[in-house]
């Protein structure tokens, strides 16, 4: 009896419910992905899905594993930033689908500063943040003063940014390829410092970016939950009219939110491109998936900044894992497929949580019935009527 009570209380905690819901999304997403593999080619399905889940564990050697673990982290860092960007805006009632475009201009600004202007890394990083923030602020401005839905304006800006950055970085590309020049040969000072992490991971791409991302996530958590700014921004998000009534400057808050959100995404791009891990292709005609995966990570992490560290890692983990599937049977996009399925399933999280809350309630009701005493059933009646009120 006592044991049971503890599990009930445990399940009733919102954090736990979010975690379980997210887990459910992951499991369902992987399962549907597995079914897809089965349909495409039954022979390799088990191995295929294991490849996706294992990622770097595919390699038998410890040393190689840690190197590729490091590389997964390198790519997870910008994803965390993008998911923080989406999450921050969402907490303030805005859907920042423009993280992709803000990421693009962040990449453009940081690489241009590094390659054309030969700036040191911290200037490049700041430039990326500024560029993302400006783009985000533009969407915020349009929403605040021209009533343009931020989703639509962000999408338009995504494409405009892509073509603009392609043009801009066309000036610093290698002569023979569509890729931008490499940082290590052009401007070493723009590379993010390794801080000794390269020794641990035996990989030069592992840099300051990894710890920095965690610091930023914690900062975002503090801003949202502990400060006056967070109080104001979330009040604006939850009820714009009430925020105005309370004397908050709701339009400023809106623009500020989008600027912070854009800055986060822009910074994310710098944290990837300033490691030298990737070069920008100036002929790319589709937006990098990072911004969109950020949406997945934000929701999968239960819209918590700390949660998004883990969810981002997970999504990057399976995305990288996609590279290991047998190309003669499956497309590497199977991991995009799985992660987009997971985003889709995140739409049901609320339903999952309601379902769980219902289960907890039913169990409590049953327990109360079991005990049978009049007093117990009366308290039960009270508590469930409170719940009812909570939903109305």
């Amino acid at each position: 009896m006592k044991e049971k009570k503890r599990t009930t209380a445990f399940l009733a905690r919102p954090g736990v419910q979010t975690f379980i819901s997210s887990l459910l999304c992951i499991i369902l997403g992987l399962f549907i992905g597995f079914i897809a593999l089965l349909i495409i080619n039954p022979g390799g399905a088990v191995k295929g899905i294991l490849n996706v889940i294992q990622n770097f564990m595919y390699y038998p050697s410890q040393a190689v594993r840690i190197k590729y673990f490091g590389q997964t982290l390198v790519k997870a860092a910008p994803l965390v930033m993008c998911s923080l960007s989406v999450l921050f805006a969402y907490k303030v009632g805005l859907f920042n689908i423009g993280a992709a475009g803000q990421y693009v201009v962040g990449a453009g600004a940081s690489l241009y500063c590094a390659l054309a202007l030969h700036m040191p890394w911290y200037i490049c990083l700041l430039a990326a943040i500024a560029a993302g923030a400006l783009l985000g602020a533009l969407s915020g401005l349009l929403k605040a003063y021209r009533n343009v839905n931020e989703v639509i304006s962000c999408i338009m800006l995504n494409w405009i940014s892509l073509y603009a950055v392609n043009t801009l970085l066309g000036q610093v590309k290698e002569a023979a390829s569509p890729y931008t020049k490499s940082l290590s040969s052009t401007n070493k000072s723009a590379l993010l410092p390794n801080m000794g992490l390269n020794v641990i991971f035996k990989d030069d791409y592992v840099t300051l970016a990894i710890p920095l991302v965690i610091v930023v996530a914690v900062l975002i958590y503090i801003v949202l939950e502990k400060t006056r700014l967070g109080y104001e921004l979330q009040a604006t998000g939850a009820n714009k009219a009430a925020a105005k009534y309370a004397g908050m400057r709701e339009n400023r808050n809106l623009i500020l939110t989008m600027a912070i959100s854009g800055g986060l995404a822009g910074m994310g791009a710098a944290l990837l491109y300033l490691t030298g891990f990737e070069q920008w292709s100036v002929t790319q005609s589709s937006l990098p998936g990072m911004g969109f995966n950020g949406i997945a990570a934000a929701f999968l992490g239960g819209l918590s900044p700390i949660g998004s560290i883990f969810s981002s890692y997970f999504i990057q983990h399976i995305t990288s894992g996609g590279a290991y599937v047998d190309k003669t049977m499956y497309a590497a996009q199977i991991s995009d497929f799985i992660s987009s399925l997971i985003i889709y399933l995140c739409g049901f999280v609320l339903f999952f949580r309601h379902f769980m809350a219902g289960m907890v309630e039913a169990r409590e009701a049953k327990k109360a019935k079991g005990s049978g005493s009049g007093a117990a059933s009366e308290t039960d009646g009270d508590s469930s009527s409170d719940k009812k009120g909570g939903e109305a």
Partner: protein
């Protein structure tokens, strides 16, 4: 010049079809951000129909089957939105975004698997339909295709259905004031399903028109390059009204066509404007247009709000 007209009409057809799709969905009260993904899946359905069409099939039959396949594929795919948004009251923006990503990923995985199954060395995500596409053209060697005619029919049909039939009246009531609709015995859930499924069919149809515009093969990794979103802008600019939407689509189609054919105009080609600017043009134009029209835009009142029978 003729080329510009052709492309303008082709792209305007795509935008009209997809925006009308969005219009039906939103009039029923569901925001359909997932049109982009629906277009991809519709395009896939149509492309597959063309690919597996036996040689010698009469042209009208090809046209019919391709149209049906694309519409059906889009419609089935839109069920994902309908179920999530209507039955499970999910965040419609989130689900739509997921559908956009899923559409491209699923189509790519599927086409690659199909290509690889036929020829192990072929890991591309491309479907070709050079011969079959000819059946879709009105005048061979141009881009004037029968889809333009279909678009006009759909446009007139959409107008009549929305404003002259019982279904249209009820559909719009669900997007404006679902409680009112419910109180007179209209099944809001069913009407919203209808709205979303129609948007799926039209979005899917728009997808196939898009990937047959000027090309005879499609790499599905590319998706549809934001056309679904442009269509949403067209819909807003067209104020959720079919005829206005058609006019808006023509305008946007013109700008999109410019990026395809500007090099054919000596004047434009000689200007020191990078091609990227032409690529950006439709998006810039739509952003500007939205900036000046959104202030007084009048979206269906209940759009985006899940309907809960319990809360009256």
């Amino acid at each position: 010049m003729l080329l510009l007209v052709q492309y303008t009409l082709v792209f305007a057809s795509v935008l009209t079809l997809v925006a009308l799709g969005g219009c039906f969905s939103e009039h029923s009260g569901v925001i359909n951000i997932g049109l982009e993904g629906i277009m991809v899946i519709g395009a896939l359905g149509g492309a597959l129909a063309m690919k597996f069409m036996p040689p010698g099939t009469p042209a009208p039959l090809i046209l019919l089957l391709v149209t049906l396949a694309a519409a059906l594929a889009g419609m089935l795919y839109s069920l994902l939105l309908a179920v999530a948004a209507i039955n499970f009251k999910a965040d419609q923006t989130l689900v739509g975004t997921a559908m956009n990503l899923l559409g491209t990923a699923a189509a790519t995985v599927f086409v690659k698997a199909m290509n690889t199954a036929r020829d192990v060395s072929n890991v591309s995500a491309t479907i070709e339909y050079i011969e079959q596409k000819k059946a879709l053209l009105i005048v061979d060697g141009t881009e004037f295709n029968w889809f333009m005619v279909i678009t006009v029919i759909v446009l007139i049909g959409a107008y009549v259905v929305l404003y002259k039939t019982r279904f249209g009246l009820r559909l719009m009531a669900c997007g404006e004031h679902p409680q009112a609709a419910d109180s007179v015995g209209i099944n809001v859930y069913r009407m919203r399903y209808a709205g979303v499924l129609i948007s799926g069919a039209l979005g899917g149809l728009g997808g196939i028109v898009y990937i047959t515009a000027g090309v005879s093969a499609w790499r599905f990794e590319y998706g549809v390059a934001g056309f679904g979103f442009l269509a949403l802008a067209v819909m807003i600019f067209g104020q959720w009204k079919p005829l206005h939407i058609a006019l808006a689509a023509l305008l946007f189609g013109l700008f999109r066509a410019l990026s395809n054919v500007y090099s054919g105009f000596d004047v434009l080609a000689s200007l020191p404007i990078p091609s990227a600017v032409y690529n950006m043009l439709p998006y810039i134009v739509s952003l500007i247009v939205l900036t000046f029209t959104s202030q007084k835009s009048r979206a269906p009142k209940a759009e985006g709000i899940p309907y809960d029978k319990g809360l009256r």
